[in-house]
């Protein structure tokens, strides 16, 4: 323990050196802005800075990327809360609760909660990385596609409790999303699936186009089609920095603990990442909450759980990279590229051969999450000023930015068409009381579930029982079953109550 603290202390000294510190701050700034702008993802930003890291040492290069990673995961929550536009898929649950809080005049409270939850989740996650990286990585290394499939199913199952109207409506939306996720060229056989000969669909439906269309354009159309389209989207509660105190956080401590725990655990599973963490934490929070009926109406616990989980996943994802040389997410895969460019092979030997560098990176990660509190508040204030802009101007330029964001994905007008069409669909889903989040979740997690399922079947001779024979998979699937069954049982018990009393 003493040795570990010594390494960490040396890491902090190195992390606050001018160049390293500047890289963390620069990365956080880039990440927060990129995360907040729909269509410009945190991952894109990490990829874009990769060529600039050729001219740096490995430590400042990785610290720059870690700053973007941590800032980018938080940044999407700003526009999610202010405009109901999640910057990244992982911020979707934040939009469900944060935007409602904002609409009810509690913008500063929602932003403050998001920042603090993100920072606490991130710091705990980085400490976890420092303390438990080697043993945890050994445990997760035993996971195969069977366990990953079960984790994704768990994420999909949580959708049954995410529907704000009814479970049937949520499932309609979820299966529509899973189906849309299958459209395009199939990877294993290379055949076109359900494209109907349309070139637009050949490359599949990118979830970012769906996100932008359903959430942003759908919301704008809903406002414009209203009787008073010039109304403000929310009261201008953005005159000062977001405020949050321990008195606000203390009642939410268990939500924070659960969210952070889920983030660290799910983030530690290679490939699961921040999006799955965020959805699973949100679903779990609703199950555990004393007021589940308030979810979707601006529930602070749901917001805190989702935000602490997505930043909490960052440390877990880094575990695989630093101890095994296996990237735990797309972002850490790019970081692995940076290591290799500098001639360093990430893996167990790093902890003995490059101890100083490893602990500087870990200390930098802790520092980045602490600095994010200050930078996040400043960024939130800047974005919050946009709420003073007249609604017609704001709504119009939201559409213009959505079009640009969709085009920038692949420089392809097909993505712009899909975004516009999903915008129209988003409007009608709102009007027909079909929840949008399950559709988004289906598109994101559906292809992952398919890949893990097919790999499992090939590996185990199409034996379905493998999912129940492997202990971790069986436990996770059991939890998924409980999540699906719980609302049905609760409803049945509630319905029987009055009859029994007669």
């Amino acid at each position: 323990m003493g040795e570990l603290l010594g390494h960490l202390a040396a890491g902090f000294v190195s992390a606050v050196a001018p160049l390293n510190f500047a890289m963390i701050v620069l990365g956080l700034g880039i990440g927060i802005v990129a995360g907040a702008l729909p269509g410009i993802t945190m991952l894109n930003s990490i990829v874009l800075v990769l060529p600039f890291t050729y001219f740096m040492g490995i430590v400042p290069a990785i610290l720059l990327m870690i700053g973007i990673y941590c800032g980018g995961i938080f940044g999407g929550s700003i526009t999610a809360i202010l405009f109901n536009i999640p910057g990244d898929p992982m911020n979707v649950p934040t939009a469900w609760e944060g935007y409602r809080l904002s609409k009810s005049g509690r913008t500063r409270y929602a932003l403050g909660l998001a920042i603090m939850a993100s920072a606490i989740g991130g710091v705990v996650s980085a400490l976890f990385l420092a303390l438990f990286a080697p043993p945890f990585a050994r445990f997760a290394l035993g996971f195969s596609s069977v366990e990953f499939f079960s984790v994704v199913v768990f994420g999909l199952a949580s959708v049954s409790v995410l529907g704000q109207s009814s479970m049937a409506a949520a499932l309609v939306s979820l299966f529509a999303g899973v189906f849309l996720g299958t459209v395009g060229t199939e990877q294993q056989y290379g055949v076109e699936r359900l494209t109907f000969g349309l070139p637009v669909l050949r490359t599949g439906v990118d979830f970012v186009t769906v996100l932008i269309g359903l959430f942003a354009i759908g919301e704008v159309l809903d406002q414009v089609a209203g009787r008073d389209p010039g109304r403000r989207a929310a009261p201008p509660d953005a005159r000062a920095l977001p405020r949050i105190g321990w008195a606000d956080l203390w009642p939410l401590r268990w939500s924070l603990c659960r969210g952070t725990g889920v983030g660290v655990a799910v983030g530690g599973l290679a490939g699961a990442g921040a999006t799955v963490s965020s959805f699973v934490a949100y679903g779990l929070e609703r199950q555990m909450s004393a007021t589940p009926e308030q979810f979707g109406q601006g529930h602070a616990g749901g917001l805190v759980a989702a935000e602490s989980a997505n930043n909490g996943s960052t440390g877990g994802a880094m575990v695989h990279l630093l101890t095994l040389g296996i990237p735990g997410s797309a972002a850490t895969a790019v970081m692995m590229g940076a290591f290799l460019i500098h001639g360093i092979q990430p893996g167990p030997l790093m902890f003995t051969r490059q101890t100083h560098e490893v602990y500087t990176i870990i200390a930098g990660m802790i520092l980045a999450n602490v600095l994010m509190v200050g930078l996040g508040f400043a960024a939130a204030l800047t974005f919050a000023q946009l709420m003073r802009v007249p609604a017609p101007l704001l709504n119009t330029f939201i559409v213009a930015f959505c079009v640009l964001g969709a085009f920038a994905l692949r420089n392809d007008m097909a993505d712009v068409w899909l975004t516009a069409l999903f915008g129209v669909l988003g409007f009608y889903m709102r009007r027909w009381d079909l929840p949008i989040p399950p559709l988004v979740m289906g598109i994101i997690l559906g292809p992952m579930a398919e890949q893990f399922f097919l790999t499992s079947m090939v590996s185990h001779a199409n034996d379905y029982t493998v999912f129940l024979r492997r202990p971790v998979s069986a436990v996770v699937l059991g939890l998924a079953a409980v999540i699906v069954a719980w609302p049905l049982v609760a409803r049945a018990v509630t319905a029987r109550g009055p009859e029994a009393g007669r």
Partner: protein
Amino acid sequence: MERGRRVAAPLLGLLLALLLVPDTLALDRVAREGQFGPGFWPRLALLGFAAACAVKAVGEARRGPGAAGAAAPRAALSWVRLGAGIALVLGYVAALPLVGYPAATAAFVAAFMVLAGARAPAFVAAAALAGTTALLYLFVKVVYLPLPKGAGPLEAVTLWLYRALGIF
């Protein structure tokens, strides 16, 4: 009437799903012996969708007109404004490759702002011109995004504009 619409929508979804299932069966012709074909997963999704639609339709049919749990009434809607909004968004996307990004965006911004409630012509014109110019500088000059320039002679107009603004 409203109840009929609420039952018809999921039934339409159910019908659509069942119509697409044969397409997924056809995909499995390329499947290797003893392995799942490329149609398996979309078929699973379609059958799940169909089942969910059926449950939703039954639930809506059972629900009385004023039953508890019925959806809360939505805010009043202007169908004319909705139609115009959708037409403007789709028209904007269609116009981009034809007339080029600058002209299409300036026209869209002006028209959509009026639709969204802006009334001062000077404000609308200034927002359209300044906004489009700012977007051009940011995304063409700084980010090097190859935005659509338009077809035929309009491409030359866009290029002339880029040169005039000093971004090309």
